[in-house]
Symmetry: D2
Subunit: 408 residues, 4 copies
């Protein structure tokens, strides 16, 4: 490790989990760059305590330690706006990891500004999407920020070297065993848990039943279906079974009920921004339920062409988020369009949950329903719709087809 | 009924089911237009015998009676090409009704040409999409065809009047009671059964459990999961559990197995082309399974940008089919693109079916997999991918974002 | 003319030009519907006096006469928002007629509400786009409005019958001769003049030189080029050669200078919404110049992906306007996106005008230029850009292509 | 220059112009990589002799020298297919440089295969698009090819160092003076000449009149307009004024006539793929005329929705080419769609050329015109179109708007 290259930095803000990898990074930054390290640890619903990171950081000599609960901000300003768009990457992935990165990136650069740090650092590897998401976000928000991605720089490119480095620098490795045992890597936040790598790298391999943590196996889910009602306001869920909930509490509740019924698993092969295919298993119980319910409330409150416009733009919007462009001007302008469509997406959706299934069984909106029974009825509509109009409608839509037939 | 207006036609080809409605239409055409009626009855897997239509037509004086088994053609030339595009209308509807109409339209005009008929006729109402699909199809294929849509013309606009007309003209009404009892209307073919109207017109109303006919209730489906393997060639399923099947037999098999496991129900509110919202319940067991499996085989055999291009175009393609533009030049040109993407979509998908759930648990392609474990691995990749490249990739992708930040 | 059908209306607001056609309509409405007619005549820069319409309407017994100067509103709220999108229908038509109709439709329904009229009426024919634009606009703004389109109803379907009707009802026909002589029909407003019909119906026929009215023949335009500077603020032109101008005055000025230099003619065949192709000749001098200048100011102030997003959406946006969907929710939501992109489109464009040509020769923005000479320079950039980054950028973008090659 | 790093290569194919830069590269490759260099010099209409490159290469010790006339292939397989799509990058750039690179890339890898070379090399800098285009093309066609981009590697990063290197290695620098004098850099082929860099780096600077080489200054162009006729077959121009011409001869002819009339200049700021904005001046006389004519022949032979589909896809297609993805699967599949739309794009376009202006004054197609005068006529159409159909057409298109109004 060449501690050379006059690459001195005064201070670096590190996205710090408290685990082995980022602890080694912490030490390595101090050694390699001779800099002060500021740690930032966020609770975004990953399901692990964040407080223990404080002691670990202190032990490594860190003075500025940021530990924050970002659950509400995460859901309100990131997850919900994204669900307004019905975003699915490649038709299946609910972007659970992707949507958390922009928030982390934002806080990293904000803390860099607060603490006068020149750089930020993260523990994402050089093969994945997360490095891109962290860094594009950071550069967009603070163009002159320096970014250190140790996994792309150092030579600690095997588990063994990492452990040796930890031992040599007296870094606790209690997490070692568990990590070693898990035959895949995980990422978790309030929206999802993902699994990839290890055994999952064979796309013909079916994951072990005990890999899944946030959803009950559909086979073991309750034998009785459960009905739930979700109330939406401007496209966001605001009440569950008639009870108002804050954004994070709502998502937690949706996770709980959907997870209990075995809803929200996905096992897919996706295309990474950096160019390769990758197999990922995802648990997104609440998000899966939310997407279904949101589509249902839109189905009665959203004008047809507005819905189609959103459907046409969705893959692009989802790809932007997947690729790390949350803070790009194009995502921000698209959000303006999407949010504008949600003004009247108000009402209630009723769903039946059962062993991995969600069936929408009812949707209503007192104020904004566009479903007009008096028009669509098969029965006498008392003149609400003149069937004779259909002839002209068809004739004029057919005109170009009839003319075009001449060419055949 | 004014038998006036000099609206004489020599001969009309009628899409004839043998049921009450089209029997009344048959008679009405003879009366109203003083014309010979040619009947056309197709078996497209609706699950009812078509032969009985012969005797009924004969009884009404029809001489030219066409009764045809179009199952194979329907699946091979309509259903499979559509599934190559992963088509879903408004994110949820698998276009079961929409995709059958172009085939019927085509045969109607072909028979008109064979028999020298000036016109065709159908039993679709003036409020629905089907009239549009029949007529746009027919006009595109034969611009000078005349089309008679009795429901838009006559005054038999209530059940009672229809029955009176039937009685008056000695038309058997055995179907009457059943029809009257079913609190909704149905459409069926090898791809799906749909239910709409009646009680379903209230979008808050949950349909009765016994409405569903082609899928077992997930609650009553087998308690044991079942694994199946589907083999694709050029994007079409060709083998089921290793056994070659013709297109129609394949879809029948997929219906059987998916239906048994309670897979393929949908309860949605959709936007009709003619301008109103409409609630529909759909059973598409085989199609639902096929879509899932097709996406999965694409996930390892289709290049990322090809997949994204398809995703971007899909809503437009699906809307074209929904709206009745199967025979339009734009659908035909889009199909060229889609089919070209499927050249290497070859391989096997393994799925686990259980009580309404389908989980993809494996996908492989000996000849065409783009999944390269040696690159995506978290382990040492022996130089297949240089992590340092990621820095340049990110830096250049970030450049515009950094410059753009100056405006903020 | 059957004055029957119990089709009584209390009051109708008529879009009234004062010309022969709408005068006949005025009378016909009074006769046919036994209703009071309210006339609405707008000055939107068509270049003819609107005041004379007052006397004509009075002579026909009209009591409520609305004559309004809408030039500023037209440009500010319709033309400029549309140009923010760089809208061109089918790559060539600047939507001069299309963009005026929504304003007229809006005023018609507003006046109907003010005067308690049940219906509105217009003089557009049943073959064109304008009927659609008027009526979709009116229905969107006031769903229960009744619309009377005499050209689709009456039997005055020839020039001769129209003149006879006028004579019979003592309607002045001074415009008759001119109309008869002009071998095409015209539409004009502050944005453009259009010519269609008559001799122009042969797409191989070159229009006479004297047809064009708002632009000098390029062959007769000044032999000296002229330089002009247009200053933009939030995407709208606000200064011409350094002088502030109101929206209508700006467009008038642009028309004047561009017209003098022979800029802004187009001779095209377009596809009407009602299904047929139609040949139109257009003069849009100021608009043509504005579009060129707007694209140029965007070229240095708009982020690349924002520009591409706009380019991708533009044809759809333009088609919405062409088809009459200005007041649709989808146009309104798209406008939100477009307007959001224009926040920083501030700066000056310099153009050289000469005999039909416009060459952008300079663009600058003190506050918002994203053109960074220090990066793009071929000379030494002092480290602003690391050329080595390009290798990683290319390598990762190539990765999927390299993997995909395996299939070949 | 460290001739170290065990980076030995057996043989490298170099895209060689014979000029100073690529001569230095040739020598540098021999020195740095100790390899044999194969030179490839293509005539693609750049307007300079290619034969002189032979002697220069021989003098530098090259044994395998490829000198090829690719004009016909360039126009037939690259330029014409691209014009079928009406491709314009960012609404203004006709992709003159972009479209030539894929052909060069293809020949480089083919020659590498023929000669057993491991690598290819080119003279594009690390800031531009061309490096990306060469390399993405090469990687797509031959994934294991090695690519050497000296400008990203060496330290000859100033004119002076380059000249010193040339002098030291006895490389003729006759081009030196001219290059030094030209205050911008150029690229030329049969489709265009581009100018960028130097004085043009100031986007407010108007280029000198004598920069432009392939088009006459509009001010100096003939005072008499000229009429020309271009005949298209399947979307490609095949006859000029009734005379059949091969692809390259056609483009040469179009260049000649358009250039003489001052047609085809553009002065724009564009967004490079590598992230920065860049100012470019382009002369594309024949291409500009071809685009105008192609749009015109499409206007009467292409169905509306086919035309709109093409317009919607065009920006994406153009961006693919601009960014270097000609050989990508997505470009190839899109081409299938585009080519399919051109099957009936047959006919003649008549244009009037005058001092920088092109006015389409006629278009006709004996076999494939969809322009039906009998329908669009303002005169009596003898029943070809029933104006009453328009009412139903409008009513049903308005239905959703009327219902949606309830939400307001």
């Amino acid at each position: 490790m060449s501690a050379s290259k006059s690459r001195k930095l005064n201070k670096v803000v590190l996205a710090y989990s408290g685990g082995l990898d980022t602890s080694v990074i912490l030490k390595w930054l101090q050694e390699e760059y001779g800099c002060e390290v500021v740690t930032f640890t966020a609770d975004i619903g990953q399901g692990e305590e964040v407080e223990p990171a404080r002691a670990k950081a202190q032990k490594l000599g860190v003075k500025d330690i940021y530990i924050e609960d970002l659950n509400e901000e995460f859901v309100k300003d990131y997850v919900f706006p994204m669900f307004r768009a019905n975003a699915e990457y490649e038709g299946e992935y609910l972007l659970g990891t992707s949507i958390a990165r922009p928030l982390i990136a934002k806080r990293l650069v904000e803390i860099a500004e607060e603490t006068g740090a020149q750089a930020i650092s993260h523990g994402a590897t050089g093969k994945g999407n997360d490095q891109v998401r962290f860094e594009l976000g950071a550069y967009a928000l603070k163009p002159d920020i320096k970014i250190i991605a140790p996994w792309r720089e150092w030579d600690l490119n095997s588990r063994e070297k990492l452990l040796n480095y930890a031992e040599k620098h007296d870094i606790a490795v209690e997490g070692k065993k568990k990590k070693n045992e898990a035959p895949y890597s995980m990422d978790a936040n309030l929206l999802h848990i993902s699994y990839e790598g290890g055994e999952l790298e064979d796309p013909w391999y079916e994951p072990e039943a005990d890999m899944w943590r946030r959803t009950v196996d559909p086979e073991l889910a309750p034998d009785q279906p459960e009905y739930v009602e979700i109330t939406f306001k401007k496209g966001d869920p605001v009440e569950f079974n008639g009870k108002k909930l804050s954004p994070a509490k709502m998502l937690r509740k949706l996770n709980e009920v959907a997870g209990m019924h075995g809803i929200g698993r996905a096992d897919i092969v996706e295309n990474r921004y950096v160019g390769m295919k990758s197999r990922g298993c995802y648990e997104t119980p609440g998000g899966t339920l939310l997407l279904k319910a949101h589509r249902a409330i839109e189905s009665i409150t959203l004008d047809r062409e507005l819905a189609h416009l959103k459907d046409d733009l969705m893959p692009r919007y989802a790809t932007l988020i997947y690729n790390g462009y949350w803070w790009s001007p194009e995502r921000l302008s698209m959000q303006k369009l999407i949010d504008d469509t949600q003004t009247r997406v108000n009402g209630v959706v009723r769903l039946k949950l059962f062993k991995g299934n969600m069936m929408v069984v009812g949707r209503k909106s007192e104020t904004d329903s566009l479903f007009d029974q008096s028009i669509s009825t098969f029965e006498d509509d008392k003149g609400a719709y003149d069937q004779k109009d259909a002839e002209g409608f068809i004739k004029l839509n057919a005109l170009r087809l009839r003319i075009q037939n001449k060419q055949k």
